[in-house]
């Protein structure tokens, strides 16, 4: 069923969720008949934490009990909201934020573009406009003269209490910030940005953000060097270990250059690759070595981890990491930075840094590029011989939102796949800039506090699950091997999650992985590289 939630319901002072999600309410998944039910939070959790939006939460933060605690939340929010709309304290994305608040015509075109809204069985609270409207009404009511006087007559009728504030915080973390809604909007307003700006309000004003992306995310990244907690010494060990692994597998010793001054390219991976998918940096090393690319990795803290989680929720944190990446490249004297297979790092380094870093860093002198056009340059150059029959399985291409929709890098991946795979890739419906988010976007792939992982599996990853099954619908037989190309760490995390959750490997023999692994697997001069396996929990 669809729960009839009105905007003012977010102020309800009950612990009952506004939308108690049930599997039968969600969009039906083809090819999955035995889906497990959604587990409600345990009694112990319900007593301690707030699940009053939809029975899920990524915040292990005790519910406010005293009046003082409740007021702190409300006043913090008010103060943050005032700053958010003041050009003196927030200039980075203010224009588009203001335009969205002022000009959205509530036509709801964006709702039908949102995978979370559709997957949830079209629940009101997940409309891209729902959280924006709450923010808009609160602003009108408390910061505009007409709202203060006339309230409901001008639509400024939402009570502001600690529950409103908490539910708005939760709502900001029910959006993948994939910006598909913004693409479909006929007048170009950006409701995803509003979700992101609400997160920013909470993080910058009150330090409220999920543990995984703030305390153990950006803060750990800046303190240790990587959000995985990987120290520079450990990174060097990992590189050595990958070198040994490559030698065993291809019978040739390859030196992975680290801190090489004056190289052409500084290549930065998402450090999560070393932990979870070490074959990805290994494949980069094999390919770049064979193509004779003069590149280097960096062992400086942050220099070996390209993530910048601040992009999802906090301008300060985003700037701190971006600044270090650019400075490290300048110190090494490289000609450009190339971002590995990591979507949000593409957005951060190639797009956002131009907007938020000061101009005197001479950023224009430090070009920042995606790895995909470089892959295609290498493949089409003819320097390396490929045998597409090595990749003689079905593939489908998942488009990372940041790389494809945001940056328009659409063709290089497809050209590469055409050149190194035996079968034409099966495009998802829809694909390219219109493709849906993996469901792990904006940090969701690594957020597992309390029962948030369940929400991700059931709701935000649902559309991708459907797309993957549909892309392979005529070859679902497990005898046919199928590979989902997901050239982004976060997307890989989400694909692993959904393939595991819905048993797509056991049932249908579907695995996932990056793009560079396929290129290296097709290299004639070395033995096949790909391991056909899937690890789940």
């Amino acid at each position: 069923m669809r729960y009839n939630v009105r905007f003012k319901d977010v102020a309800k002072l009950t612990d009952e969720p506004l939308v108690p999600l049930k599997v039968e309410d969600l969009e039906k998944l083809p090819g999955i008949d035995d889906e497990s039910p959604i587990q409600p939070p345990s009694a112990k959790w319900l007593e301690r934490y707030d699940f009053s939006l939809d029975g899920h939460s990524p915040f292990e933060i005790l519910k406010p009990k005293t009046q003082e605690e409740k007021e702190r939340l409300v006043f913090g929010f008010m103060s943050g909201l005032e700053k958010l709309l003041d050009p003196q304290s927030n200039w980075t994305f203010l224009k588009i934020l203001k335009l969205t608040l002022d000009y959205c015509v509530r036509c709801q075109t964006c709702s039908e573009a949102c995978h979370v809204y559709i997957s949830s069985g079209r629940q009101e609270i997940y409309r891209p406009t729902f959280r924006s409207e709450i923010l808009r009404r609160l602003y009108q009511r408390y910061f505009t003269p007409s709202g203060k006087l006339l309230k409901s007559f001008v639509g400024a009728d939402i009570e502001l209490n600690f529950k409103t504030v908490w539910r708005l915080l939760e709502l900001a973390y029910r959006c993948n910030v994939c910006r598909r809604c913004a693409m479909y909007c006929p007048i170009g307003v950006d409701n995803a940005l509003i979700a992101r700006e609400i997160r920013k309000l909470f993080s910058q004003e009150m330090g409220l953000a999920p543990l995984e992306i703030l305390k153990k995310g950006t803060q750990q990244h800046l303190a240790v060097g990587s959000s995985t907690g990987m120290t520079p010494a450990a990174f060097k060990m990992f590189v050595e270990s990958i070198e040994e692994d490559i030698e065993e597998r291809i019978g040739k010793k390859i030196k992975i250059p680290v801190d090489k001054k004056g190289a052409d390219i500084l290549l930065i991976h998402n450090a999560g690759e070393f932990m979870a998918w070490p074959d990805n940096p290994a494949a980069f090393a094999i390919l770049f070595d064979a193509a004779g690319i003069n590149y280097t990795l960096s062992s400086e803290p942050l220099g070996y981890d390209v993530v910048g989680y601040g992009l999802w929720f906090d301008d300060m944190e985003a700037t701190r990491t971006l600044l270090r990446h650019v400075l490290i490249a300048k110190e090494l004297g490289v000609k450009k930075i190339v971002v590995g297979e990591c979507g949000h790092a593409h957005k951060g380094l190639c797009v956002i840094s131009d907007r938020i870093l000061p101009g005197d860093l001479a950023l224009s002198e430090m070009p920042r590029e995606s790895c995909f056009p470089l892959f295609w340059d290498i493949v089409k150059s003819g320097r390396i011989k490929f045998d597409p029959s090595r990749n003689n399985f079905h593939t489908t291409l998942h488009d990372s939102c940041n790389i494809v929709r945001l940056m328009g890098i659409y063709k290089p991946q497809r050209d590469v796949v055409k050149a190194v795979c035996a079968k034409p890739t099966r495009e998802m419906t829809p694909h390219g800039a219109f493709n849906y988010c993996c469901g792990g976007g904006s940090g969701f792939a690594i957020m597992n506090t309390l029962n948030f992982g369940q929400w991700r599996k059931k709701v935000s990853e649902r559309m991708k699950t459907k797309q993957v099954i549909e892309a392979f619908k005529d070859v679902l037989d497990p005898k046919e091997q199928k590979y989902v190309i997901a050239a982004c760490s976060n997307c890989k995390g989400a694909l692993r999650d959904l393939i595991g959750q819905y048993g797509l490997f056991e049932k249908y023999n579907i695995i996932y992985g990056g793009l560079v692994e396929l290129i290296v697997n097709a290299m004639v001069d070395i033995p096949p590289f790909l391991k056909w396996e899937f690890e789940t929990h």
Binding site: T228, T231, A233, A234, F238, M275, H537
Partner: protein
């Protein structure tokens, strides 16, 4: 902080069962933790894995790459998942404190290998 007692050994652990102070660790504690985790007896192969994890952490303050563990102690490439099913159990028995969520998130998938069909 819960204190668990197993066969006369008292162990301070956090809410998730990780040792509070890694210095409290010795082989007897490891055996007790292994039994609590349902791993049964700690064979030499298992002990080698957790010893390497401890040494690696002492030196680099980081969770090691799983393939690297096996290579260094000359065991098959999937040794950690084969021996412990969940790599985090090895971490726990090695007496190291709970890894950060980033590592948990990335490592979690590496638990056991399934076969299609």
């Amino acid at each position: 902080m819960p204190v668990i007692e197993h066969k006369g050994i008292k162990i301070n652990v956090d809410d998730d069962g990780y040792l509070v102070n890694p210095k409290d660790w010795n082989e007897n504690v490891a055996r007790a933790l292994a039994e609590i985790e349902g791993m049964g007896e700690l064979t030499k192969d298992k002990m080698d894995i957790i010893t390497f994890m401890r040494e690696f952490f002492e030196k680099y303050q980081s969770f090691p790459m799983l393939g690297m563990v096996c290579k260094n102690i000359h065991q098959p490439q999937k040794c950690v998942t084969e021996q412990f099913i969940e790599p985090l159990k090895a971490w726990k028995i090695a007496g190291l404190s709970k890894p950060g969520p980033m590592v948990l998130g990335y490592i979690k998938g590496h638990s056991f290998i399934v076969k299609p069909g």
